[in-house]
Amino acid sequence: MLEIKDLHVELAEEDKAILKGVDLKIEAGKVHAIMGPNGSGKSTLAYVLSGRPGYEVKQGTATLDGTDLLELEPEERAAAGLFQAFQYPVEIPGVGNMTFLRTAVNAQRKARGQEELSAAEFLKEVRAKAKDLEIDAEMLKRPVNVGFSGGEKKRNEILQMAMLEPRMCMLDETDSGLDVDAMKLVATGVNALRDEGRAFMVITHYQRLLDHIKPDVVHIMADGRIVKTGGPELALEVEHNGYADILAEVA
């Protein structure tokens, strides 16, 4: 599904290399976890894929089902089925959460040549999905993420993911700032979306999240590269021993 080859990326303004040759292949139906020390390039990888401005791709490719992602505008990447749950969801005063969700859902449907959802259909769907994530009607009415707690913001990200039904989901430190109960809720939301046609890239610092969202593959990123790939046991190793051993081993 997602295929990244030899991806080199710099910060556009600082001329600073962040990704130094990332290779990664994620197949449909799989959950890949990406771990690694701070500053290793994990979030940058997600941002570059979703098309945030400010990065310059120097070399390499990234494709989603064969489509060159790097050539597309962010909204086209979303319509192609890519989704990033942000580490820091953005507050947008003045734009209602419902308006935002409906605009997004219908824009994607339109881009894919599907019919737009009617107000009633949309409402029914969003209410059902919000209920699973314990998002109440009041939160749906408020402006996007404004006045939301950290946990509410993350749940709101998962709600968006559930509504947009992307094929390739990237979760960027979705567990950061969550208490155990909130994390379980988020994990349940994610697990409900797992199916054979959908893949996940879960960026995290902690094994804890991976207890709830069981990965098929774990990658360790360091200094802009994926330095080690293994099964779920690799995450446990990190949890117990930190990164020092792994980094020494691959150095």
Binding site: E73, P74, E75, T103
Partner: protein
């Protein structure tokens, strides 16, 4: 002190082109206003109060020509049950207007009641305008008091069941109307006044509003979409105890617009909210000049002005809150913000607070900025196309001003016009 020669000549030239309506109860007030114009002279670019906005097109003897816009957008407020009063280039259109009868309110036309001594109107006409001449002269308002041949005279005594809607059509390219409205809201009464339309090639309008204790007035206006028109408008309001005045203005396009509001809070616990949302493109200058005086205990004033500017448009804000000695527990708030959709536009702002009481809360915020790139990316990352995302954020920027409209249906009508403006700019 004698006026500078240039100013004196400009003033005389303008006055020579006008004729003062004679006879009737308003004549003394008109003569007094004329004397005010002659003593202060009409504004020019050297006046501090016109530092950011050149008043030339408002002062000259002839209205600069302005084409009336043909549009299929349909009339604003058309879907609402309302009492319609229509002026075409400043001339009352009886055919298009409703019968001026509505329970809880009496509505007359200034031009028709010269011979009837309506004492409250006589006492009010020109009075609030004159009070507002200090500390800053507003000669264009005095000029209007002296010469406006018509306007509506409204006395609200109850709670009329529907809004009073004044519609100003613009047809002739050289029309130069002046209208002067006088409104009195009696104790405990409440009404909504809607205004809509460009009114003429050059429009001068005054509204003197006197709200008695416990009275409430809602005012929502839209100034029409004609690109070349110019306008100078004044709202003068005096508020009694526990009264409330909420005014919102939408301005879409126009060559030059100067909207002044001068409000005096004279009774305890009164509330005034003045808000404006304007959007302009290219040859567009919009000026909000506000002066709010707190002269009683525990009053609230709130100013919320938002301007969306692009392609060389200019936004001006001059807003002042004056808290007089003894006006304790004043709650004053002032917000003026511009959103620049490109690098060519300008926002000029002069927020002022002058406070002589020690137990007050007054705050002001004044910013200008661009569309938030982070928010834009967030929306795009969810599949919202860039244009649509920028529109959403622009409307969100304006929302704080539009939110000042209490009636949800009216607010939605206003928002739909702002959306239309955005979608036309593609």
């Amino acid at each position: 002190m004698a006026l500078p020669k240039i100013k004196e000549t400009a003033t005389e030239t303008r006055l020579a082109a006008l004729s003062l309506p004679e006879g009737g109860w308003s004549e003394p007030a008109r003569r007094a206003a004329l004397a005010r114009v002659q003593s202060s002279g009409l504004p020019d670019r050297r006046d501090e109060y016109w530092k950011f906005t050149r008043p030339d097109v408002l002062v000259g003897p002839d209205a600069p020509h302005a084409k009336a816009l043909e549009t299929d957008e349909g009339e604003l407020f058309d879907s609402f049950d309302r009492l319609k009063i229509v002026f075409v280039d400043g001339v009352f259109d009886a055919q298009a207007s409703d019968d001026l009868k509505l329970e809880g309110v009496s509505i007359e036309r200034l031009a028709e009641i010269a011979d009837q001594d309506i004492h409250w109107a006589r006492d009010l006409y020109g009075t609030l305008e004159e009070r507002a001449q200090t500390p800053v002269a507003r000669p264009l308002a005095a000029l209007n008091t002296a010469f406006a041949p018509d306007g509506v005279v409204i006395r609200v005594t109850g709670k009329p069941s529907k809004p009073i809607s004044v519609v100003y059509h613009h047809v002739a390219e050289d029309s130069d109307p002046m209208l002067h409205h006088v409104i009195r809201v009696e104790s405990g009464a409440e009404a909504t006044i809607l205004e809509n339309g460009p009114a003429g090639a050059r429009f001068s309008k005054c509204m003197e509003i006197d709200i008695a204790d416990g009275g409430k007035l809602h005012h929502i206006r839209s100034q029409g979409r004609d690109h070349e028109r110019s306008a100078v408008t004044h709202i003068f309001a005096r508020l009694g105890a526990e009264s409330s005045f909420k005014s919102f203005t939408m301005t879409v396009n126009g060559h030059l617009t100067r909207n002044e509001a001068v409000v005096e809070l004279t009774g305890d616990d009164a509330i005034v909210h003045i808000a404006g949302a304007c959007v302009g493109d290219g040859d567009f200058l919009h000026d909000d000049t506000i002066f709010i005086t707190h002269d009683a205990l525990n009053c609230e004033s709130r100013q919320v002005f938002k301007k969306v500017l692009r392609n060389g448009a200019v936004g001006v804000f001059q807003g002042k809150i004056l808290v007089k000695e003894g006006a304790q527990k004043t709650d004053g708030y002032q917000l003026s913000q511009a959103l620049m959709l490109d690098g060519d536009s300008q926002f000029l702002a002069k927020p002022e607070l002058e406070i002589y009481a020690d137990d007050v809360a007054c705050s002001h915020g004044c910013t200008s900025g661009e569309i938030d790139e982070t928010a834009l990316f967030y929306l795009r990352s969810r599949g919202v196309p860039e244009d649509r995302a920028a529109d959403l954020l622009t409307l969100a920027f304006l929302a704080e001003a539009v939110d000042e409209i209490e009636d949800q249906a009216i607010a939605e009508d206003i928002v739909s016009r702002l959306e239309n403006w955005l979608s036309r700019r593609r």
